[in-house]
Amino acid sequence: MREYLILRVITKLLFPFILLFALYVQFHGDFGPGGGFQAGVIFAASFILYSMVFGVRSAQHVLPVGILRAGIAGGLLLYALVGVVDLLLGANYLDYSPMSAEAKVGQHLGIFLVELGVGITVASVMMTMFFTFATWRED
């Protein structure tokens, strides 16, 4: 891809905006269209685009397999643990109300954390999938 200068420049240019958009979708998700799934995919898309243009290795330099794997597990864990916190606070599983003094704020906080967990997992999974297929060597 060395020769395609336009692609390289455009990619570099777009990269931060895609990330930003992903974060917007992520954090806006609890009171507008959006959420963890979409945000995760968009986030992953930015890295996939990057690695398509600059090579998988350079992308993996930023996000090595270990981190992605931790992301997959960590996101899921975050989601599950939010529920457990609710349990410990005396409410039903995933009933966020008691997470703050005011029920509405608690709900906000809860859904935010859950969506964050989803986002992290989805992004990590998407990237792992891409990297795994892209680096597969036949031998």
């Binding site: 799934f37 989805v122 297929f133 597969w136 036949e138 031998d139």
Partner: protein, 118 residues
């Protein structure tokens, strides 16, 4: 006649589903089978989304002055189903890659004939 074409979205669903199933059954290439499976699943996505639509309703985002919204629940459901579909496809492709490595082919007939000899 109106009934017949008025429900065109279901016709799309049926055509997609049949096409997908046909590919799964008729193709010997493992990747084509997966593609067929995806088409088949896509038909279900369309099915869900189309019956989430309420006539005259708008997108289910709270707006002033709008009373009729489409039903958002099928969308949410199908989002989950899409995720499941993606996972299935990824897993299927991973299997195909492994199969290709072990057998050197991804054609069903070749694989069967190889296993027949072993």
């Amino acid at each position: 006649m109106v009934d017949f074409f008025g429900l065109y979205n279901y016709w799309i669903v049926i055509v997609l589903a049949m096409a997908g199933m046909y590919i799964v059954i008729a193709r010997g290439n493992l990747i084509k089978k997966l593609v067929g499976l995806n088409v088949f699943q896509a038909s279900v996505f369309v099915l869900y989304i189309s019956f989430g639509k309420v006539s005259g309703g708008t997108a289910p985002i709270l707006l002033k002055g709008v009373v009729t919204y489409s039903n958002p629940l099928p969308h949410v459901l199908i989002l989950t189903a899409i995720v499941v579909g993606v996972a299935t496809t990824a897993l299927g492709l991973a299997l195909v890659v492994r199969i290709r490595r072990e057998y050197g082919t991804i054609e069903e007939d070749d694989i069967h004939s190889q296993d027949g000899h072993t």
